[in-house]
Structures are given as structure tokens and as C-alpha cells.
């Protein structure tokens, strides 16, 4: 299983904050996971196509080619606006 988390405007758009899914067989990295999620019906394809979205694997910012493994926590969110 992997844990998926969504924050801020993306969370509101998708209507999901947190979910657990079995790691899809075809997914080996962040780009693959994004592609898989974009295959869902509803707002997923468009919402995840925003090029400014950031991704964290196990709570560290990563790039599209970062591997995703069973047990990982993968978070998706818009650019941060703290401070």
C-alpha cells in the first residue's frame, strides 16, 4: 500500500485529503504515479496537469523521476505560500 495526501487548493479540487491504495503494478516513479492518477474519472486529469504542482515522497520534495515504492507516503500540493 502507499499513502497519498493532497493539500490546500488541490485537496479542495479533488475532494480528497488522504487515501491508501495498493501500489499499481505499472507505477515505479512519481511521473508514473501521476499518470496513473490522471486516469481516474472526474477532476483528476486536469487538476494534476498543473505544472506548478509540487510532490513530496516521505515528506521530502522530489522530482518526477524519483522512485515510488510500497509503503511510501506521496503528497501533492500547489506552490507553498507560508511566511
Amino acid at each position: 500500500m502507499i499513502r497519498l495526501r493532497y493539500f490546500a487548493s488541490l485537496r479542495e479540487r479533488l475532494g480528497v485529503a488522504d487515501e491508501w491504495i495498493p501500489l499499481p503494478e505499472t507505477v515505479s516513479d512519481v511521473a508514473g504515479l501521476k499518470h496513473w492518477l490522471q486516469g481516474r474519472t472526474g477532476p483528476w486529469s486536469e487538476a494534476l496537469s498543473d505544472q506548478r504542482l509540487q510532490v513530496a515522497v516521505n515528506q521530502e520534495l522530489v522530482k518526477a523521476d524519483t522512485p515510488v515504492r510500497d509503503g511510501d507516503e506521496v503528497a501533492w500540493f500547489p506552490p507553498v505560500t507560508g511566511g
Binding site: F7, A8, Q59, E60, A75, V80, T81, G82, G83
Partner: protein, 140 residues
């Protein structure tokens, strides 16, 4: 010292503690306080709400503090960031550093707040008379 909290903080108290914990070695304390503005993008702000990513936030802030301590010789570092509902004029963030000399203190403080703004997972949502909206990008 890193804290993520809903409660307000007292900047004077925090800066005095930073000085005291430096044990007489600090010749300078430099601080930055971020506040909620009353207007943004032409709309009056009635309230702001700050969301974060519990767990990652603390890790990201600790990493930023470590980077600053590697680059400058610092006697103390404070990062306090508030979350939850905030009103215009409220404190959002306090970043403060103590160092032997002012140049390191100014540079480290600027580095800390600039890096926090691009690397720590916080998001601002504004509540205006026209409705709610997520802040899209950070101003410099």
C-alpha cells in the same frame, strides 16, 4: 528552536530568550516578523487561514535551520510559524538569529525567511467580502 503553533507569540519574550540562551556570546540579534496584511490584490482581508503538512513542516524547517548553521556561525535560531485562523495585523511568523556579529545575523535571518517561503509546506487562504481564495504565489 522550531515551533508550529496556533497560539500567538510574544516577540520580545522570544528575543530575550534567544539572547539568554546564547550565554553572553551573541553580539547581535536580528529578527523578521511576518504579519497578516489588511489588503491583498485589491481586496480587504477579513481573515486568513494557514494550512500546513504536519510532519513535513517540522522536517523542512529543521533542514533550513541546519543549512543556516552550516553557512554562518550562529549562537541561536528561532523559527515560529502560526497555523489556523488569523486576522489582519496578527503575527504569522517569527524568524530570529543570534550571532557574534551583525553581518552574519542579517544574512542568516534573510536566508531563513527566504528559504522558508519557498521550501516549507504552508498555504494561505484568504477570506474576503467576495469569498475565499487560496494565495497563489508569494511576494518577494
Amino acid at each position: 528552536m522550531i515551533r508550529v503553533q496556533q497560539e500567538d507569540f510574544d516577540p520580545g519574550e522570544e528575543l530575550d530568550r534567544l539572547r539568554d540562551e546564547a550565554g553572553g556570546q551573541a553580539g547581535a540579534v536580528v529578527s523578521f516578523i511576518g504579519l497578516v496584511r489588511d489588503f491583498n490584490d485589491g481586496e480587504r482581508i477579513e481573515e486568513m487561514s494557514l494550512e500546513h503538512y504536519p510532519g513535513m513542516t517540522e522536517k523542512a524547517l529543521a533542514a533550513i535551520e541546519t543549512q543556516a548553521r552550516e553557512r554562518w556561525k550562529l549562537n541561536g535560531v528561532i523559527i515560529i510559524h502560526r497555523i489556523g485562523p488569523l486576522r489582519p495585523n496578527d503575527h504569522i511568523v517569527l524568524v530570529a538569529v543570534a550571532s557574534s556579529h551583525r553581518r552574519a545575523a542579517f544574512q542568516a535571518c534573510e536566508f531563513l525567511i527566504d528559504t522558508l517561503k519557498t521550501g516549507a509546506p504552508f498555504w494561505k487562504k484568504e477570506i474576503t467580502a467576495a469569498g475565499t481564495r487560496w494565495v497563489d504565489t508569494n511576494n518577494p
